[in-house]
Amino acid sequence: MKTYAKDDLSIVLSAEAGQGLQTLEQLMTRVFKLSGYHVYSYSEFMSRIRGGNNSTQIRISARMISSCPRRIDIFVPLHTGAMERFHDRITPETIILGDPAFIERRYTDGGYPIVAVPIAGLAREIGGEIYMSVILLGLFSGLLGVELTLLENLVRQFFSRAGEERTRKNIEAARKGYASGMHLLKPGQVLPVIERSEAVKNDLLLNGIDAIGTGCLAGGCTFVSSYPMSPSTGVLVFLAKNASEFGLVVEQAEDEISAANMALGSWYAGGRAMVTTSGGGFALMVEALSLAGCIESPLVVHVAQRPGPATGLPTRTEQADLEHVLYSGHGEFPRLVLAPGSIEEGFTLSRHAFHMADKYQVPVIILTDQHYLESTCTVGGLDVSATSSESFIVETDAAYRRYLFTESGVSPRGIPGFGRGLVCVDSDEHDEAGFITEDSRTRTAMVEKRLQKLRGLEKECIEPTLTGGEDYRHLVVGWGSTAGVVREALSVLGRNDLSFLHFSQVYPLHPNAASLIGRAQKKIVIENNATSQFARLVRMHTGIAFDAAILKFDGWPFLLEEVVERLEALL
C-alpha cells in the first residue's frame, strides 16, 4: 500500500533574485537542524541576477530525507507574481502564508487556507524590506517550536560581521517574526507533528558543493584551475575560500582549454590538480582530456551537468552529459566516471577520484548536476578523517624512463626535479623514454599499455548499491543524483517485489551489473534525460535491454510523487 509519510513538512519560498532567498535557506535549514529536525532543501533559480522568480523548497522531517516532494504544505510568496510558476503544485491543502500583497486573487476566494502576515510592512517598520527574510526565519522558528535563544544566537552569529546596527535590527526582525509565528495558525489549520532527535543537532548540514569540495581537499587536491560556468562554479568558490588554509593554488584561467592544460602541467610538476566545469566548458577541455590519455597524466574533472544543447538552461538540472564524458576525446584511452548519489558519496568519491587518477594515471570525471550541487541535507556519521594524499610519485634515478612497460600498464611516475632522472612526456606517440616514434611495434605496445590500465580500474570498481530485497521481481536502475528520490519513492510504494539499483560508478561498469540487472523480470531505468543514456551504456556492455524508462528533461529534478506515480503505472 502506498503511504506518504505524515510527519513531514514541505515549505516552498518563492522570491525574486536579489531578495535574499539563499541567506534565508541557509538560516532556516540551520535553525531547524540545530533544533533536532532532519532537513532537506533544494534551490532552483533563473539565469538572471535581478528579478524573475526563484524558489527554495525546504523539507523538515523526522527521518533523513533527500528528495523534493511535489506536495507543498506551506507556500510563501515574496513578491507579486511569485505564485505563477506554482499553480499546478498549490492545492486546497496548501497553506498560503505571506503578505496579502503577494497573494494572487484567485487563491483568496475562500477555497485555500490563507495565513496573512504583513511581512513587508513589518520589515519596513524595522528598516526596509531586506528584513523580510529574517522575519520569516523567526516566524517559522516560532511556528515549529524552535527555542528563541537558539534563534537569536544564530542570527547574531550570522550577522556578526554586518555591524552592530544591522545585527540589532536583524534580531529585532527575528523576534517579531517569532512572536507572530507562535500564534499563527487558525483553528483547523494544523501542522504535522514532527519528532525531533538529539543526534541530528550534531549532524553536518551539507550541500553537494560542500561534499565535492571537501572530498577534493581530502583527496589531497593542491591545484585548481577553472573558468566560471554554472552550475560548477560553486566548487571553484568553495576551493578558493579554503585556498590559504589548505595551501592550494587556485587560478581562474582565461578559458577552459587553458584550465585543463594547466591542470595537466600541475600534475606533471607534482601537483594534484582538478578542474570544475559544466558540459560546454568540458567540450573545450576535450583535447586536453585526450592529452591526459596520451601522456598518461592523472586528471580530475568535475562536470556539473545542466540542460543543453549549447547554453540550454544554464541554471537548471539534467543528466544528459553522460555520453559526452564517456566518449569525448580522440583516440582510445581509459577513464573513470563517478556519479555520486548522496552527500556522503560526493565526499568519498571525490577523494577516491584523486586516489584513482594518481594510481592509474588516468583522467577521472566526477559527474554531478545542478540538482545534486544545490541540494542541502543533514548528514550523520560521515567520517571525514580519512584523507587520501598517498602519493604515487617516485624519486627517479638516472636511468628513469617515464613510460616503462609494466604488467599493469602503469609506469612509475616521476616529476622533474625530484631525483636524478629526466621526465619526458610527449603528446606524439612515444617510446618508453618519452621520445617521438612512429615504429609500429612500439605504437602497438603503447596502445596496449594504456588500455591495460582499464583492467586495473575494473578490478577496483565500486559496486552499485541495492535498496530493497535481494529477491526482487522488478528493478529500477539509476545513477548519480536520482538516488535520493528513488529510494524514498520505494519506501512510499512499500512493495517487496521492487528494488532499486544505484550506480555511483558509471564507468567502467561493475562486473556484477549484468547479473544484478539481468535477473529482474521487469527492468526500469530512471534518468534525468531524454534518451536513456545509461540504459544504452548498460546494453552495450551487458547486452541487457531495459523494459521501460522513466525520463524527465524539463530542467527540473524528479519530484517524489512523480516517481511514485510513474513507477505505479509501470508495475
Binding site: L217, S225, S266, G270, T387, V423, V425
Partner: protein
C-alpha cells in the same frame, strides 16, 4: 660545455637541412650551459609544430603538449614547483595563432618563465600555409592570391600589455641569440623572445639574406626601461629591431602572488592534507 644538454640517445632530427631551427637549438644549449643550468631542474614545454620538437633534441625534462597550449602548461609547472626553470618554446603558429589567447593572459599573469618563439612567418609542419606573422601578399597553397590581412606584431602587443621582458633575435646570429636568451632566462618574470627563423622549405620570401637586409641591432642609445621608445621601435616595419626592446621591472610574478606560497615555500608535491583541517572545516557545518 653545451654538451651537457646533448641527448644521450641516438636522435633523428626531423628538421630540413639549413633550417634556422638548428641555430636556435645551438644557441639555446649554449645559453643554458653558460648560465650553469642543470638538465634535471629545467623543463622545456612546447606545443606542436617543427619548432615544438626542439625539446626532443635537448637532454632535459620536457612536456611536449598540444598545439597552442604550451603556455598554460608552463605557467602551471612554475606555479606548482617554483624552483624549476621553465622555458616554453614553439612556433609562431602555435604561440600567436592557436595559442594567442593564452599568450595575452600569460603576459598579464607574469609567471617567471621564458617564452621562445621560432618565428618563421609560415606554418612549417603542415606544409606552408600562412601564419599570423606572414606578410601581406605572401602566397601559399591556401592563401592562393596572397595574404591580405595585416601581420600580427607580437612585440608591440606584448609591450602594450606591459610584458616584463620583450626581445627579438635572429636565428642566423647564434652568438647574439644566445646572449639574448641568457638575459631572458635570467630575467625574473615573463620573458618573450621572438626569434626570426628562416624556413628554407616553405618561406622563400623571408630568407637568411632577407633578414640580414631588414634587421638592425639596438645599440646603447635604446633604453629598454623607456616603454614609449620600446613601443615605437617595436612598431617599425621598414626595418626590424633585434635585441632587448623592453624591460618593465617591479611587477610581481604570478607565483609570488599565489596565496599557496604565503608563509609556505614548499613546492606542491611536498604538501599533504591534514585530516585535522578537514575535520575543522566540517565542524563549521554543524552549525
Amino acid at each position: 660545455m653545451a654538451e651537457r644538454f646533448d641527448p644521450d640517445h641516438p636522435i633523428d632530427i626531423a628538421w630540413c637541412p639549413g633550417c634556422g631551427n638548428y641555430h636556435i637549438l645551438a644557441a639555446l644549449k649554449s645559453a643554458l650551459a653558460e648560465l650553469g643550468k642543470d638538465p634535471e631542474s629545467l623543463v622545456i614545454v612546447s606545443g606542436i609544430g617543427q619548432a615544438a620538437k626542439t625539446p626532443q633534441y635537448v637532454r632535459t625534462n620536457f612536456f611536449n603538449g598540444l598545439h597552442g597550449r604550451s603556455l598554460p602548461v608552463a605557467t602551471a609547472i612554475k606555479a606548482t614547483n617554483p624552483g624549476l626553470t621553465v622555458i616554453a618554446e614553439s612556433g609562431d603558429g602555435c604561440m600567436y595563432g592557436e595559442g594567442g589567447n593564452h599568450l595575452l593572459h600569460a603576459v598579464r599573469r607574469n609567471p617567471d618563465i621564458t617564452v621562445l618563439v621560432h618565428n618563421n612567418m609560415v606554418y612549417g609542419l603542415t606544409k606552408g600555409q600562412a601564419s599570423p606573422t606572414s606578410m601581406r601578399g605572401f602566397t601559399t597553397p591556401v592563401q592562393v592570391s596572397g595574404v591580405c590581412v595585416e601581420p600580427m606584431n607580437p612585440l608591440a602587443m606584448a609591450i602594450g600589455l606591459s610584458a616584463s621582458f620583450v626581445a627579438r633575435a635572429f636565428a642566423g646570429d647564434i652568438e647574439q641569440t644566445r646572449e639574448i636568451m641568457k638575459q631572458a632566462i635570467t630575467h625574473k618574470g615573463f620573458a618573450l623572445v621572438d626569434i626570426f627563423q628562416p624556413c628554407v622549405s616553405f618561406n622563400r620570401v623571408n630568407t637568411y639574406q632577407w633578414y640580414k637586409e631588414h634587421c638592425f641591432y639596438l645599440d646603447g642609445s635604446h633604453d629598454p626601461a623607456d616603454r614609449d621608445a620600446a613601443f615605437r621601435v617595436a612598431s617599425r616595419t621598414d626595418s626590424y629591431a633585434l635585441g632587448v626592446l623592453s624591460i618593465v621591472s617591479g611587477i610581481p610574478t604570478f607565483e609570488e602572488c599565489l596565496d599557496a606560497y604565503r608563509g609556505d615555500t614548499r613546492p606542491l608535491h611536498e604538501r599533504r592534507v591534514s585530516s585535522g583541517k578537514i575535520e575543522k572545516l566540517m565542524d563549521d557545518k554543524r552549525g
